[in-house]
């Protein structure tokens, strides 16, 4: 184990996978010489050369389309799209290309690529650099979507994503890069995709959260303890496939559910979670599911405005109090 920042954990995952497999290569804007705007790829061009670590022009549409077919023809590309806000430029490649071929070509091709990007608000980056487009991506059958929150998961899940035989969108969060945690140094360490993680056990309510919202949910759970409420916090680190079993098991014990996602409310990931919980856990619920999300509006720039719209521990606590009252 080593104490590492989230960004360093990702860097270690990339380095180990590139050492282990010569078909793994990286491309993205400013990822080479500069080491990436969040320093995730620092030192990798020096170590692996310009053939395998490429600085690209500003060409998200083509880059994503190229990752799909490079993967189809024998490599394991890891593409960095600097901000999740730019992923809409990648959508044709994801929705019309990557997600369909394994099926329509009857298993003739596999597309083992990873699209790494980072989203979320809280950094004063404004309406075009603060989005969480989780639901838009998780909507598409044929693409896995994961969002690790701990440095250990960042490393273990990125390694799994690179080794996966299918397209994986790997969502990071700009406010997580400097968070620290213990990370296994073993090159064989991986964290499987598709499994949720219980971050805190509780009896009275289950809080299901994604990405950085898991940290807010944990803060809320601390506060709720003083309110006399025991909250369970489940990290939905795999958005698709979703670990429905873990959700159902938790609700069977707590009978209350709050879902938290930093994306928009309408047609959002939290809406999907609510519907899934209703489909699967209706008889176990003592109250309707509550959603905590971004309001349906752009993320404002000014700090008090931005803080007002972002879901946080206080808003999660309020939602829990409504649900368990």
């Amino acid at each position: 184990m080593a104490m590492m920042r989230y960004a360093e954990a990702l860097n270690a995952a990339l380095r180990e996978e590139m050492q282990a497999d010569a078909s793994v290569f990286l491309f993205g804007e400013d990822i080479g010489r500069y080491g990436g705007v969040f320093k995730v790829t620092k030192g990798l061009m020096e170590e692996f050369g310009e053939l395998r670590v490429r600085d690209t022009p500003i060409s998200e549409q083509a880059m994503t389309a190229m990752a799909v077919t490079a993967a189809m023809t024998g490599t394991r590309p890891v593409l960095e799209i600097m901000y999740a806000d730019f992923v809409p430029l990648s959508l044709d490649a994801l929705i019309n290309q990557a997600s369909i071929y394994e099926y329509i070509w009857n298993g003739q091709v596999r597309m083992p690529f990873v699209l790494r990007t980072q989203g979320g608000g809280g950094a004063g980056a404004g309406a075009q650099h603060s989005k969480s487009l989780d639901s838009m991506l998780a909507h598409v059958p044929g693409i896995k979507v994961v969002a690790p929150v701990t440095p250990a998961d960042a490393k273990g899940m990125l390694k799994s994503a690179i080794r996966d035989s299918q397209p994986v969108v790997f969502l990071e969060h700009k406010l997580l890069y400097n968070t620290r945690g213990e990370v296994p140094e073993d090159a064989d360490f991986t964290v499987p995709l598709g499994k949720a993680a219980t971050r805190r056990e509780g009896r009275d309510v289950s809080i299901f959260a994604t990405s950085r919202m898991v940290l807010e949910a944990l803060k809320a759970a601390d506060a709720l303890e003083k309110d006399g409420i025991s909250a369970e916090v489940i990290d939905l680190r795999s958005l698709r496939p979703l670990d429905v079993e873990s959700i159902a098991t938790s609700i069977a014990r707590t009978n209350h559910a709050v879902v938290v996602n930093e994306g928009w409310n309408f047609c959002g990931y939290a809406a999907e979670l609510s519907a899934t919980i209703m489909d699967r856990c209706f008889d176990d619920l003592d109250a309707p599911v509550a959603r905590v999300t971004l309001p349906d509006m752009p993320v404002p720039y000014s700090e008090p405005l931005e803080m007002a719209v972002l879901p946080d521990a206080g808003k999660i606590r309020d939602a829990v109090l409504r649900v368990v009252k």
Binding site: T56, W105, V109, P141
Partner: protein, 323 residues
């Protein structure tokens, strides 16, 4: 002449062009009888581009195609029977009926694949070339795309990266004068789109797209360069599609004079005339008869093949949480 096809290669191109023509004519007939499903994009009159460009390639080379890909499919070595079966949605089709006429792929033959998002094949081939460069393979990727596709933004992004990184990809622009129904002059301020290659420091050549030998030679030069690691090239093959945009096209925007002028330059006729003295008219007529019989038999067999059974697609199981 450098990179000219051998007589045998030219004869094979001639044969494949006839296979494609009979395929297109058969589809036209079946459409009139109401037996086709969805739009079908015929390439009558422009067969030489797809057939000759792909004749240069080896099995390990990759090809991306378009919504109008029948000549590309046959050129890259697919048999006509599974292609027809796919067009009619049969279990015996190239993709077991899952893909349909615009999206056919045969990974073993290097066709991956048809694409109905205009422009999408351009970065797709470029990505395959990137993979070849990373792996140090000697294969090349080829993208055949239309004059309409050349106007997409992604075309610029892909060609810029291809040239910047000297990727082994050859761009074959099949300039048939029209986007969907709009003439090229309404889509671009320049008549010769290949002048854009200069902006990428990429070699380009304009060829008569109805002359299989000319297409073959020009493409072969670019493929040679790409295989040697010298980077991409662009061939602009000027041609014309005789039929409408698709079987759903109401027509009316192509002048009878233009169609007649281009029909007088039928690519199959041009190859026939060039080969007549080499192999004799009798041999060519026999090839035409055999090719026609092959396509007719393929239609007959494919049309009596079973449809696939539906099953929940296992390819997607991994993406869903079990409910």
């Amino acid at each position: 002449m450098k990179n000219a096809p051998s007589i045998e290669e030219h004869v094979e191109m001639y044969r494949k062009m006839i296979v494609v023509r009979r395929l297109e004519e058969g589809l036209g007939r079946l459409h009139k009888e109401g037996k086709t499903r969805g739009p079908i994009h015929r390439c009558d009159g422009q067969e030489a581009v797809g057939v000759a460009a792909t004749a240069v390639l080896r099995d390990g080379d990759k090809l991306t195609s378009t919504h109008r890909g029948h000549a590309h499919y046959i050129g890259k070595g697919l048999d006509v029977y599974p292609v027809i079966a796919e067009i009619f949605g049969r279990a015996t089709g190239s993709c077991a009926g899952r893909a349909g006429h615009m999206l056919i792929a045969d990974a073993e033959k290097g066709l991956i694949g048809g694409n109905a998002i205009v422009g999408a094949g351009i970065p797709a081939a470029t990505g395959m070339a990137l993979s070849m460069q990373v792996l140090g393979r000697k294969d090349v990727a080829m993208c055949i795309f239309g004059d309409g596709a050349a106007q997409t933004g992604i075309c610029h992004e892909a060609m810029n990266m291809a040239a910047l990184w000297k990727l082994p990809v050859v761009f074959v622009l099949e300039h048939n004068q029209f986007g969907l129904t709009v003439p090229s002059s309404v889509q671009s301020p320049v008549a010769d789109l290949s002048i854009r290659a200069a902006g990428y420091n990429m070699p380009a050549e304009i060829v008569d797209g109805n002359d299989a030998v000319a297409v073959y030679r020009a493409v072969a030069n670019m493929v040679d360069r790409a295989r040697q690691g010298l980077g991409p090239g662009l061939i602009e093959a000027k041609t014309y599609r005789w039929e409408g945009f698709s079987t759903s096209d109401m027509g009316g925007y192509q002048t009878p004079e233009d169609i007649a002028a281009w029909k007088a330059r039928d690519p199959i006729r041009i190859s026939y005339d060039a080969l007549k003295n080499e192999v004799g008219a009798a041999a060519l007529d026999e090839i035409e008869r055999e090719a026609g019989a092959e396509v007719a038999a393929a239609f007959a067999k494919a049309l009596s093949d079973p449809f696939p059974a539906f099953a929940v697609p296992s390819a997607y199981a991994a993406y869903s949480g079990a409910l």
